[in-house]
């Protein structure tokens, strides 16, 4: 079933005018901000397809900026997001591209804060739902519908076994998991959609595992932890 429950039909509560161009865009911005782990100082957004064609009239740019400021889909500040971004000193640049993209409503988001940097490619697939295809050029498949744990680690034998056993011992079920690596023995990224919210104790145990570089939680329902910087 493409649509799984009643709230995928009635809802979300959102800022108009288009579930794809504003609600989905706000969610993509928010996921990117959570992936960075703090409010970005600089953002570069490249729009593809229908996003590139009609983003100004639809307010897609404002919704994306709103998401980068961690606003939910119906935050009344979205129409004035440019101004709020300026107030927190967030520099935003938009680009459009005619290159083919995986979906007509696709955006590439690149973010910077101090020496931190991250990128995300995602699409707004309709009705406010989104799909993230890449995090820092690693392939992923994230919907934002579930609490998602993203781990950056070295591509070493046994890392995933320790990760999954740590998670299973804390009683949280993994619904979907994807692993991608840049090169053999190089950096790897594991993304996991969870049935429950990862608790701080589990996160600390994961952080202390060998070969673990970084951990982020992406959770659109609960919002973010205070800025990690």
């Amino acid at each position: 079933m493409r649509f799984k429950d009643v709230f995928s039909i009635i809802g979300p509560s959102m800022t108009g005018p288009s579930s794809s161009h504003t609600a989905g865009a706000a969610r993509l911005g928010r996921i990117a901000r959570q992936w960075l782990g703090c409010t970005p100082e600089r953002a570069r957004l490249t729009l593809y397809g229908s996003f590139a064609d009609t983003y100004q009239g639809h307010g897609t740019d404002l919704a994306l900026i709103g998401g980068l400021l961690d606003y939910v889909t119906d935050d009344p500040r979205i129409p004035d997001a440019e101004q709020y971004a300026e107030e927190v000193g967030m520099e935003v640049e938009f680009f459009t591209s005619g290159l083919p993209a995986p979906h007509p409503n696709t955006v590439k988001i690149e973010l910077w804060h101090g020496d931190r940097q991250c990128s995300l490619i995602g699409a707004s697939i309709g009705g406010g739902s989104v799909s993230v295809h890449a995090l820092n050029d690693f392939r992923v498949q994230i919907s934002g519908e579930f609490p998602t744990l993203v781990l950056r680690h070295s591509d070493k034998a046994g890392v995933l076994a320790s990760v999954t056993s740590t998670i299973s011992s804390s009683g949280v079920n993994i619904g979907y998991m994807q692993v991608d690596r840049k090169a053999r023995d190089g950096e790897a990224l594991t993304a996991m959609e969870m049935d429950g919210v990862p608790n701080p104790e589990m996160l600390n145990r994961l952080r202390s595992l060998d070969h673990m570089l970084d951990i982020r939680v992406i959770d659109l329902k609960r919002g973010v932890e205070p800025d990690a910087v």
Binding site: K4, D5, F7, T46, P79, F94, F95, L99, G126, G127
Partner: protein
Amino acid sequence: MRFKHLHELNTICTAESKTIAELMIEEQVQETNIPEADVVRQMSDYYQVMKEAVHKGLTEDTTSRSGLTGGDGKKMAEYIRKGETCSGDASALAMAYALCVSEVNASMGRIVATPTAGSCGIIPGVFISSQERFGWSDEHLVNGLFCAGAIGYVIANNSFISGAEGGCQAEVGSAIGMAAGAMVELRGGTPEQVVHAVGLALKNTLGLICDPVAGLVEIPCIVRNGLGAVTALAAADMALAGVRSAIPSDEVIDVMLEVGSAMPSRHRETAQGGLAQTPTGRKMMEKLAKPKAKRAEPEIEAESPAENEPEAKA
């Protein structure tokens, strides 16, 4: 969910003596493992957002970002006060409220996607005007939203609900079908009558193309929401009077899939056909073309931001 088709909704509800709303709530709880009180509270919150949108459309400036639309809901409401409506005050009020919510949407106000943002005016227009007329409690209307959600769930999983996929028949048409069916249940009709109302309503929107001027959710979307609310009331009346959809409603949904799939892409939200490409539609699009963003260099992976190109894309 225990149902995928409208006839199953009817069969289960009739066998178990339940309303469609009751079944939908049960199934939602079972599917998501979220307690019933929380599920109902979520829907109740959405209903409050819908009411606020109607209020905002009646009292505040709803000029859209493009400047193309706004203020028509207010005009309708003022006109109704004169007591000279052609279609009857109940229809006209549903239309006025639907216009209000759609205009709030176009002006980046807060709405609930029902099922999408482009079709967000129809259900609030029908529900809130009927609540005022019949003196219903919020709780009753929240049940109506679960009934509408069950109908939308069937349509979405057997056909489509977005204009980009299936034309405006899928977007505004689905909302009309949902509102018509829910209205029948709210008035005490049987599940079978609900199902007939959906078929009667959907048949009347088959083939409706999605042709937004300049690609924006404004022209003709807002007006279609207003008129859609009236169609929903009319279809509900037909079903409550005992009129049946001669072609079973599930088959009508299948036809929507067939017709929408056969539509050329220029008639599916691309703004490349229909009203968007009339001389006036093209003029509006040109007028709105305000190049702002730079065109990214082909090498989007380059470390330094691309140079500003003279021919920026609109």
